[in-house]
């Protein structure tokens, strides 16, 4: 019995963050724009302004992803935008069809982040932790909930 309790408690600690969080692309866009790009995006910017800024830079967000609040950001999605942001900051962004291209040296964006010590896993956990608190005000306002 005790073992079961400890087992469940351990599982909760390990998976608790990802189970409770609902990471949407809209939230990610706002966090990224107002966080990593805060020097360029106004603190008062709306969701659509954040998305427009990021898309303009090549950190692309699809309308199909953004318009579906049930669609969750995966680790691969997250690593892509973080990787694209890094390339942008380094001045190494190669934009193809409006999106910053993944460097050929890495097979996936997760690989790219790991190979370049982006500290991606920590960012991912922080993102999920933030999402545990619920959607951002900008997102709620856009979809009429705020």
């Amino acid at each position: 019995m005790k073992f079961s309790i400890y087992f469940v408690a351990a599982l909760s600690l390990i998976f608790g963050v990802s189970v409770q969080a609902n990471p949407t692309f809209a939230d990610l866009a706002v966090l990224l724009a107002k966080g990593q790009f805060k020097e360029h995006v106004s603190v008062d910017a709306s969701l659509e302004e954040c998305v427009a800024f990021l898309n303009q830079q090549g950190v692309c967000f699809s309308l199909f992803d953004l318009m579906d609040p049930a669609r969750r950001v995966t680790k691969e999605d997250f690593s892509r935008v973080i990787g694209q942001s890094r390339l942008l900051f380094l001045g190494e962004a190669d934009v193809v069809d409006g999106c910053i291209k993944k460097p050929a040296v890495a097979i996936t964006w997760v690989d790219y982040c790991l190979l370049n010590d982006v500290g991606f896993s920590e960012l991912w956990v922080r993102f999920l932790r933030r999402m545990e608190k619920g959607s951002l005000l900008e997102v709620d306002q856009f979809f009429g909930g705020g």
Binding site: K34, G35, Q36, F53, F64, F127, K133, F143
Partner: protein, 172 residues
Amino acid sequence: MRKSIVYSTVVIFLLSWMSVSTVLAQSLMPATIADQGSDKVGQEVKAAVEAGYRSTKNKNDVKKQITDIMNEAVKNGNVENLKATIIGAMEAGGADNLDLCIAAINDSQADETYPDIVKNLMASVKAMILANKGSGKKDQGGGKDQGGGAGHNLLDDGGTNIDDGDLPGTPT
């Protein structure tokens, strides 16, 4: 026959009807889009409507094409596919053809059958498309010193401790 195959076939038919290039039509074989979810449907609708815009100068033809696609999406009964269809059609025309696309959707049965979904989604997509069009300038103001922020930075854990290795910000 599965509904998605029927739906995809109709998209292909409409694509051909608009006399688009054979190469493009061949690249949109039903097998490639069947059962691949609403994303695929949306992408195919986007491609079809884009081809429509390219193939004719008569915008009314494209408008009718969009209305027909919407009606098929309603018949199909899959709300997710319908949403993807709306997004794909609106994105295909961009900001310059927003009014035409909205009118086409309003002419379809989608607006009657799912009024709230259609109205809300169209408003959201329109806002996104217009914002994308209007974002001509890189610097939207602000400058380096914008104050403490609202815990938006992913490198900021939301706490005010300056010794914890992150970028201390305002707790949320």
